[in-house]
Symmetry: C2
Subunit: 347 residues, 2 copies
DNA sequence: CTGAAAGCGCTTACAG
DNA sequence: CTGAAAGCGCTTACAG
């Protein structure tokens, strides 16, 4: 049961002024004499008054909140280090802007669309972050109808009427492939992320392009979905290939870590027999043995920039696309020179 | 720039009734004839009207939101699988209850207190989740002053005026120690979580109690803080002990995974030379080699139950403590029998 | 069963 | 510089 809190009327009475004046004083607007302003602020302090958000929302037609809807298996979110840093980045801006973050975690598409609709149609948020962009993203049509300011986190695969804050993740994959090729690897494989997601697909395209550029066979690709389980299964499939790849580029860290487990369990030494790389720079990867090579994208900065863009969009009605520094490759112990050719298993 | 949306007045006009009646009809209250109700609902549907939250909040004095403030290094949150599942559990209840989750991620205590104060004093939330309970938790005094419904997620170390939803994590540690002892281990070590946190301390107490009960030396304890980095450092310290422990009970999975890396890098085989166990059941642990033994606490169910309790508290002014099923130990490949005694390294 | 009115706690022209 | 009033979009007694 909420305790009655002081309202603007209490402050006005205490300071001996009208409530309109209290409002002016507290929002630093002109038209209040310094002396009166001081008295009002003192009363507000004394009464521990804070303007009610709901009341401000109603008169200002602003929600003072931004929304993030996550449709992913909690297991995948849990394994992924992206979101905690991304969210921390968002919040680094919101606190100062007097805004809050509304987070929705949903299970399926129906719940997802319901969540977006509620947030927007009930005016709970001033804008929405769109993450985990999908290849034919059905949220685009929905959000266009809802007419709510939106920022795209990532490069959309089709035109969309909102600003995008992007990081070129292809650069990280390209760097990984080049590094492996420079170490003599030729049979380099890729374990993809969810192919329905733009960043799953774009990392795969980057892999194929980098391999092709180097004149290498780009067809050693196993489809997975970013989950550790799928990374393990894909790795097992790769181990059955003949000839076996000598290096694997995984589309994220959890799959690479699971892959490392499968390789080690199968008696395949990393990096002596097979080199591996991940993506997204989870903290734990640095502490594995061997330490996992990975690609970092600074999700904290990404979140902060996306929030900045969304606030701009809400305040000014427009905001520019932002291209953040490309992902960069961090080599660690999990990659090494190509194993010296031994007797092929067949032929 | 928000597009003008239909208001209750538009619906009333369209249906040819007063707006009061629209409100009654849409909230399923008595006093509206079936025929009129039907007409009103049809108009609302047609106009795609949704009641404005801010307006409802103001007249109902309800925020329709619950708040969660996280003060942790994003790296630690990212490595920890607890929060994504916990949050997903919360949301599983909120969606149906028409509530949203307000999430704040903050860096230090000042920002944390400011966040709680804003959420409560500005009436942004109807209640707060208190997680990561600390040993002398200074939030208790703050929240008492703020007089906002609160639910404790975990057992507080000192009396507090709010219901607590608890999971006995001691049971998991006890089970791990017993299992290791049954496998012949005597020199069992513990790498603690953050000792300022209740669950860091209680796991340590559980370790000491379980060892003492078994008549084993409970002093092989290294203080860490739940981060992978601290788990790695603690493991290195344990490796320098003489005699070396043959088993290590870590207070969470990220530290155990980092410890596994350190052990492997040092040529110590797991579980042949040293057995290890984690806590919290991250997905990736199951895919390591050897697979990480761990303790699960069902954070999804925990979140759902905490949300249920908080809603009850808000609606009825009171709610009972809830004790969820205790944590359970999941043995996997990372534990094995005590190594057969060889020549001690010294003496 | 239905309508007109007051109120939730703010902000903001509009007068003085 | 200050006050009185209207309005944001709902809900809810109070009359009829």
């Amino acid at each position: 049961m909420p305790t009655p809190r002081p309202t603007i009327v209490d402050v006005a009475r205490h300071a001996g002024v009208s409530k309109g004046l209290v409002s002016l004083a507290l929002n630093d607007r002109p038209g209040v004499s310094p002396e009166t302003r001081r008295r009002i602020l003192a009363s507000a302090d004394l009464l521990e008054w804070r303007p009610s958000r709901p009341a401000r929302q109603l008169s200002l037609k602003t929600a003072f909140a931004l929304g993030l809807v996550l449709r992913r298996d909690p297991h995948v979110i849990a394994a992924d280090s992206f979101f905690p840093h991304f969210i921390a980045g968002i919040e680094s801006l919101l606190a100062n802007a007097g805004r809050s973050l509304l987070l929705s975690v949903v299970g399926d598409e129906a719940a997802e669309h319901a969540a977006y609709t509620r947030l927007a149609a009930e005016r709970r948020v001033d804008g929405l972050f769109l993450t985990d962009l999908r290849v034919h993203d059905r949220r685009f049509e929905l959000l266009r109808r809802l007419a709510v300011p939106t920022v795209l986190v990532g490069q959309p695969s089709e035109p969309a009427p909102w600003p995008a804050v992007t990081v070129d993740d292809r650069a990280g994959i390209t760097a990984a492939v080049r590094r492996l090729a420079a170490a003599g690897h030729v049979r380099i494989a890729h374990v993809t992320g969810d192919p329905d997601m733009v960043h799953g697909l774009s990392r795969r395209h980057a892999f194929v392009a980098a391999m092709t550029d180097l004149g290498l066979d780009p067809t050693l690709v196993e489809i997975a979905d970013f989950s550790a389980a799928s990374g393990a299964a894909a790795t097992e499939a790769l181990l059955c290939r003949d000839p076996r790849p000598t290096a694997v580029v995984y589309a994220n860290d959890p799959m690479a870590i699971a892959g490392l487990g499968v390789l080690t369990a199968g008696g395949v030494r990393v990096p002596d027999d097979v080199s591996i790389t991940g993506f997204d720079g989870s903290e734990v990867g640095a502490y594995l043995h061997p330490a996992l090579s990975t690609v970092t994208t600074n999700p904290y900065g990404w979140g902060a920039r996306a929030a900045r863009t969304l606030l701009d969009l809400h305040e000014h009605g427009a905001a520019d696309d932002v291209a953040l520094p490309p992902a960069s490759f961090i080599p660690r112990g999990s990659i090494g020179p190509v194993p010296s050719p031994t007797v092929p298993s067949k032929e």
